[in-house]
Amino acid sequence: MSALEPAVELARGLWVTFKSIFERPVTIQYPEEKRPVRQRFRGRHVLKRYENGLEKCIGCSLCAAACPADAIFVEASENTDEKRFSPGERYASTYEINMLRCIYCGYCEDACPTEAIILGDNYELSFYDRQSAIYGKEMLLEPVPAASMLTPQKVEPGVFT
């Protein structure tokens, strides 16, 4: 081993350090800046709507049945043409997900017969108390572009039955 060898090794190491001065930084300035999520990311749930604003959810409770963490609670009621939430006879009058219980497995998505529940890309979930970890239907439903598309809607008789 020559006497110079430690110095050479040191220089080699520092060269790597020196090179990185000219590289682009990978740091993302969260929360000012957000990194886009991957296509299959499973974040907070969203209850989807059809183009006319009617809810896709029919309150069948299959998501709750599929949920391994028992995080979902659904109650259904009957639609009328005066107060229509979803096409068909039935809609979810209560829809709650306990986000503290949810393990984001996506089984609810799989179980849904109308593709109403989707695990979205929101991962920023934090709560001050347990009660606020329970997301109700109004928090889960997709926002609508116009107020006229909000549910319940008054519709022509016979169109959505």
């Binding site: 029919i58 309150g59 069948c60 409770s61 299959l62 709750a64 049945a65 609670f73 109650e75 259904a76 009621s77 009957e78 068909g88 006879e89 039935r90 009058s93 209560t94 709650e96 017969p113 109308t114 039955t161």
Partner: protein, 816 residues
Amino acid sequence: MSKQVTLTIDGKSVAVPDGLNVVDAAKMAGIEIPVFCHHPKLEPVGMCRMCLVEIGRPVRDRATGQFVIENGAPKIQFMPKLETACTNKVEEGMVVLTQSAKVADGQRGTLEFLLTSHPLDCPVCDKGGECALQDLTMAHGPGKSRFIFEEKMHLAKMIPLGELIYLDRERCIQCARCIRFQDEIAGDAVLEFEDRGRTMQIISRSEPGFDSIFSGNTTDICPVGALTTTDFRFRARPWELGAAPSICAQCPVGCNITLNTRREAMTNGEIVVKRVMPRQNEEVNEIWICDKGRFAYHYADGKQRLTKPLVRKDKKLARASWDAATKIAAENFLKEKKDFVILASGRLSNEDLFNLKTLADHAGGKAYLYSHMAGGELTALVGVGAGTNFGAMGQGTTIVVVASDLYQEAPVWYLRVKQAKERGATLIVLNPRATKLDKYASFTERYEYGDEAKAVHDLTKNGETAEAVLKASNVVVLYGSEGLGVAGSQSLATACAKLLNENGFAGKSNNGLIGVWERANDQGAWEMGFTVEDDLAKALKGKAVYIVGADPVNDDPKLASALAEAEFVAVQDVMETATTEIADVVLPAQAFTEREGTFTSGERRVQRFYPAVPVTGESKPDFAIAAQIARNMGVILEGMSAVVVFDLLAETVKSFEGLNYARLAEVEAQLPVAGRSDMYYSGTTYANKHGLGAHLSGAATRGEKVSIPRVQKEAVPHPKDNELLAVPVNQLYHRGTTMMTAELLHERIGAASVSLHPDAAARLGVQAGQTVNVSFNGTSGAAVVKLDDSIDEGIALVPRSMGIAIREPVAAKVKA
């Protein structure tokens, strides 16, 4: 035991009773043959073709009639095609194949056809999760359909057959189970098929729609979601429900039920009863319950529930602690000593009644049962007892029904009596007017109101009925209170008891007297020594009254004014009533859904009910409240455990001897096999895993000397020229406090009515549907006129608990 037949099913040799069909025989052997239209309680029709199997029969030699033996075994000849297992009866030596490729192909084909026009509604269908079509499609169906989705039949959905039952035409698979149930079992043939082929549909032929008090049962046996109840519509999915065994508290039959429970957002996440389902007990209700039992359970979860003890302060009811409220009640009861009266209703459990009776005995007070019907001390003597089974009554049994419209008063007994007749029993109906049971009666005898006891006495005097009664090996008498008050029902009960006792029809199983009481546990109250009081108003006036589970203020203005003059009134109930409003102390009790206990049914069967939902507010079980009051009066009663109270009861009251909670919870295998594991076969009824109950012993059974008092003839009031004799009749759906919370039934309850003979109506100048005023003894009320030509011209039928306070026959004025 009937003749046994040995056959081979899937290589398994099984011995079954002769006359069984192959489906039921296979079921007994634990082999499942899928069915849609067949139901073990109905006659087979072979409509759905789901039960197709291969059946082979041994070949007989034509000359000798002996089996042809081939290779040492009988030669079996199979039919070239599949046969329906439900319409083929078992035969000696039969060979059945249920698992062959040919059978599987047949089942797959049948399902594929059924699914061609069945909608993919499962997520929104109330039957989803307990659906025969779902289950059998999973087990036997094709994975894919060869039919195009767009070509499915689209038919009307959500058709109300009546206000209680919805029909979804798309979902119907035309198995006709509902039609056959109504025709064969309920005897109300109101449903029918209309049209044919693919447009065949179920329709209701009655007005109002689906006019049957058994309509809810069709939703249980419907193998798809075509028939669903309005009550349970979208209220929960079947798999989410908890199930608690219970006993129906609506009438003395004591049907076994299961309460399905679930959390509800509307009630802040509390667990509530979502629906009532039947629970199998072949000796009581089989797998059926009536619509009152199914839909009138809402009072227990009603908004009017009492949650806290209340005490009257400055003329207002104010919240109080349990200690304070019970102390005040106790002090007042002690103060009045002999003038202490307990008025308890048959809605209470045996444990409650026992504690109340013991309290009355120790405190020197009186314990009255709140009822208009007497004779319970006689049913305790010569009532039916151990071994009695309505399901076994048939040839050799004579059933006498007197002064009772069983269809309206005890619907499931109506079914059982009707069945017994169909099995060969003799049915004698004694009633002053036509009732639904007349249709099935072997003998129908009419008498005039007031002649009930005489009619029973005459039964053994003249020809045919005398023979039917005296030559029978078993006689059961069901007596009711149609047209009778306390005195009248007492003399009728005495006459019935005499008839049974003198002719040796007491003290044996399947023999004896049954009271068609007003409430679930009236019989239990009688066993414990409660009595009824004819002049209740007088008995309450100026006394310290402890009312438990009754609402006399709402029922009768006379009792209301009597209670206004009472020294002190403590009311213990589950909900706010007109009586709690006038009370000095109000004590909140737990409903039967929230606690455990036992009821004694009219046929003297003690059955347990279990807690299903959490307790409302600070309410306590009735026996515990009674014990707390008793303690403040210096009487020590058990107030913690219903089990212990029952043990004490069994030690004290002779007819309860030998019974305990463990004995009541015993079960044994029942036929047909029913339960949640095979919903395609017997429907969605629950299996009985929590007790079939046990009979009380009667004095006659215990070998004690039974002496029946002389019949006291009661005087019938004589109406003047411008008056009619108003007689009380009992109606299933009435305006009682607990019924009115079931909003779904309001339409069926309707307005108060008065039934007149068409001639009497013409004489009074009134027509059917017109509202008239009925008045008697200072009571009056509006009633809608109905015409009934089976009654006498001088008679006006006034239903009880419909707003006109009628206790017994009375001369009344009817004015337009």
